[in-house]
């Protein structure tokens, strides 16, 4: 099951970056996000999977499509990466990413992230799938959570100010 959805996700991602039409790219990205949600379900994280579909596939990608349609980007637009410098930079960044992934895979998992097999499904049975997440989010990690939300708010305000010079 994992390999099926993993293949779908990677395939979708490849199609996303190779298609010429922006709408097709966006749709392939939706497929990638949806396959990731399926992988979350396989990991016993149904709540995260639902959020993944709701927020990314359902809301953000619809906004993407909305903007693409509103600006009416035609088929076959030019790419940002041009010439040899662009390709070299892309290659360097890609290699950096591969190295990072390789290091991450090799390094052992931090101890709070390691759970004995079956813990997640047992806890979900006892408390419900949402309580597991919300407990750690609003008790253990309350301050980081609030800081993140303030950061997002600042980003929104900044975007509005940049977009609308005269309010």
């Amino acid at each position: 099951m994992f390999w099926l959805f993993a293949a779908l996700a990677v395939g979708g991602a490849l199609m996303c970056i190779t298609r010429r039409s922006p709408v097709a790219s966006a749709l392939w990205l939706v497929q990638t996000l949806f396959s990731l949600a399926a992988i979350f379900v396989l990991l016993d994280a149904q709540f995260i999977a639902a959020l993944q579909v709701m927020v990314y596939a359902g809301a953000i990608m619809v906004l993407f499509l909305f903007v693409i349609m509103l600006l009416n980007l035609g088929r076959g637009s030019a790419t940002d990466m041009r010439g040899w410098t662009g390709r070299l930079v892309a290659l360097a960044l890609g290699l950096l990413l591969v190295t990072e992934l390789w290091v991450l895979v090799r390094s052992p998992l931090a101890s709070p992230l390691q759970l004995p097999a079956g813990t997640l499904s047992r806890v979900a049975q006892e408390q419900g799938v949402v309580a597991v997440i919300s407990d750690s989010l609003f008790r253990t990690y309350l301050v980081p959570f609030e800081v993140t939300s303030v950061l997002l708010l600042a980003a929104i305000v900044g975007a509005v100010v940049l977009a609308k010079r005269r309010l």
């Binding site: 039409s21 749709l27 639902a50 579909v53 596939a57 359902g58 619809v62 349609m69 799938v129």
Partner: protein, 397 residues
Amino acid sequence: MTPDIKGFLLAATVKIVVVFSVWMIAIMLATWLERRGSAFMQDRLGPNRVGPAGLLQPVADGLKNFLKEETWPKWVDQPLFLLAPLMSFIPSLITFAVIPFAAPLPGFDFTLPLLGRFTYQGPIPMVVADLPIGLLFILAISSLAVYGIVLAGWSSASKYSMLGGIRSSAQMISYEIALGLSVITVFILSGNVTLSEVVAAQQRTVWFVLALTVAFVLFLVSAFAETNRLPFDLPEAEAELVTGYHTEYSAMKFSMFYVAEYAAILTMSALIATLFFGGWDIPFTRWDEGPPSVARCAATLLAFGTKTGFFLLFYIWVRWTLPRFRFDQLMELGWKVMLPVALGYITVIGLVVWGAERVGVALAPVLIGLNLVATAGLLWGLDRGRLLAGARARRAA
């Protein structure tokens, strides 16, 4: 295979097949009901020739759509043009899978010749899939339904369809927020997101329509917007957009949009009945909560069907009563009224639940009293002296 697995597979298969068939027939009847209902309200006859009282009209329509020519307009984006009806058809059908529609049936244990023994320990829940994420599954999948409309609008390469698609995506994103926020108060009271728990919580206390009236009003309005029904059918708007996103569609592809619309309406009706009207609960009696039996299952199924049917009728009733909104009014209502009201209501309900637990008073009477006040205030605020005060002024004049 052990008898347990065989029993589970048998129960699951029967549930899927029966629910799907009943669902498709219900959709057919809904289209018939809409046409007859609109005719009744406009003092016409409506389709009454095919079968008794025109009941077989949907069959004739379906057959006609099968035999019609599939048109492919010249400039359409072919793969997306084909994908769009599927994308709106499939989500609207699978969302019903998590709604519990009756009291559980008793388990079974029997032996068939050749196939062997089938057992099912414990009661069989009358829901196709009782997922732990319950309602979130519905919200997630129904948020995908917008793709069908958006893609149809974009791939048709027609200005009218395009405008319909753009309008629809803006509308659905705006009202999804109000829909999701209004449901949060239900979660606060039920303490869980699975729909069977929501029903059980309402059986223990009161129906949430009494305890959470404002949330019910918000949910109802957002549900109309989410299903693109009048007074919010801006994506279709036949007067200005020539039915918007499905202008270029014909035959079965159009039929799929049509079926998807009614499937979405039926799911929303069932959801309103489940979230706010006790689901399959029969009011004023505790009999339906007893040990599982066939009679209880049938009676609660009838109760669920009645509630869902009422909201289906309500949808049709509203469609032929209210005029269409203007698009800026729709956006203003969504962002400037529904969203602040929903956020404020979550705060109020959260505080009340917390306070009632602290003080130790019964929650239900407090919430019902609070909601009477809040609903009156909401109606007064939304009215802004147009109907209520206006009528009095007219009488005085």
